[in-house]
Subunit: 221 residues, 2 copies
DNA sequence: GTCTATAGTCAGATAGAC
DNA sequence: GTCTATCTGACTATAGAC
């Protein structure tokens, strides 16, 4: 899958798009770096935009398959009963953030691309990606709702939004760590530790007491 | 500040960049929409990149001034003692997310731009913005550290990162709400409610019990 | 399937008149 | 400060030989 032209283009494009963004990375740069002919992109994919869509599909499909299989596993473990919140968060995040480990096959690079796609201006791409995620989101949404039965639905949706948002941000992997810390990340990428920290953080947030409507200080000062 | 050419360019560029991103929005489009001459961008700003930097400086400077003045106010209120976490989060988020309300003067548009800047590929721009934020981050970092004295420093940095990340995502204002919910946002933009919800969520996350090192399920399952 | 060559478009930047 | 006109270069996409 890496030897043929099509795969070479995909792999190279993934790296270059992650570094420079979609608009500023030209097909010329991609094909030159891949060592293939300029025209081959249009032959194999039809257009630049179609190439980008293929890129996302190639990674998102197996990732979401893994998510659903983890969820099924959890459902089996807890037959009928609600799945614990932490386990759900784990099943949702791990197939995505686990790509960070996959330095070999380009998954780590793709992770940044995926994270960035959430804030990308292109409407058509966003819509395409939304469709790829839709069934997974539906499944997890109801599992999360069962895990948090006491949460009013409006509150629930906001918190789901917060969770997905933070995940997206962590995926984009900006080195904003530097902004907040003088420390550079100690381990090159200790994914397990990060997932554990995220799960703890998010579990607490999702379960936070309801905000009081009238108070400015709330229950959290 | 809106009548002169320079201001007109800034206002127009802000809107167009927020809609289409930096790379895909041309100076031609901007100047045409603004009703000014193409050459005036280079006359007033020197280059496209310099225009973008000016854009960010114009908004970030007063925003960060507000943050610091809120922090000073809190310090005065709690002379010597640690400032409560919720109040700190509020002082940090409000000047940023409050821009969402400023539909009149373009602040709402800028908010999306600022959120997106955290995941933007351009290294030079990211570095410039990082420098603009640096003093504010330093001040808040130590205030947060005082509010969370029991947190080990590595844990502390990660959670600060999570907080900033979620804020950045919410600023970018992607309509991912749709992804997670069938509901469109009920209020056009109830900033106060959102800030309250974010504060509750983040307060709980920042104060979550420490993750256990050996356990997969952690204290949060 | 792969290549060369090129069409057709648009970009950022600048020179120089007013 | 503002304008027109233009330079120079880059881009996506395609036609057509091999």
């Amino acid at each position: 899958m890496t030897a043929d032209t099509k795969g070479l283009i995909l792999d190279t494009a993934e790296v270059l798009f992650a570094e420079g963004g979609f608009a500023s990375t030209s097909l010329r740069t991609i094909t030159a770096r891949a060592g293939v002919n300029l025209a081959s992109v249009n032959y194999h994919f039809g257009s630049k935009e179609a190439l980008i869509r293929s890129l996302f599909e190639r990674r998102i499909t197996p990732m979401n398959r893994k998510r659903l299989s983890l969820l099924d596993g959890l459902r089996g473990q807890h037959e009928g009963a609600a799945i614990p919140l932490g386990a759900l968060i784990d099943a949702f995040m791990r197939p995505a953030l686990g790509l960070a480990r996959d330095t070999q096959q380009g998954g780590a690079v793709f992770l940044r691309l995926l994270g960035r796609s959430y804030t990308e201006p292109s409407t058509t791409l966003q819509e395409a990606i939304r469709v790829m995620h839709e069934p997974v989101i539906e499944q997890f949404k109801s599992a999360f709702a069962e895990a948090l039965p006491q949460l009013p639905s409006e509150e629930f949706y906001w918190r789901m939004h917060f969770m997905v948002g933070l995940l997206a941000y962590m995926m984009s992997g900006t080195d904003m760590m530097r902004l907040v810390a003088s420390c550079r990340r100690s381990d090159p990428m200790d994914t397990d530790a990060m997932i554990r920290r995220l799960r703890v953080f998010l579990s607490a947030g999702m379960r936070a007491p309801l905000p009081e409507i009238d108070s400015q200080a709330g229950p959290s000062g």
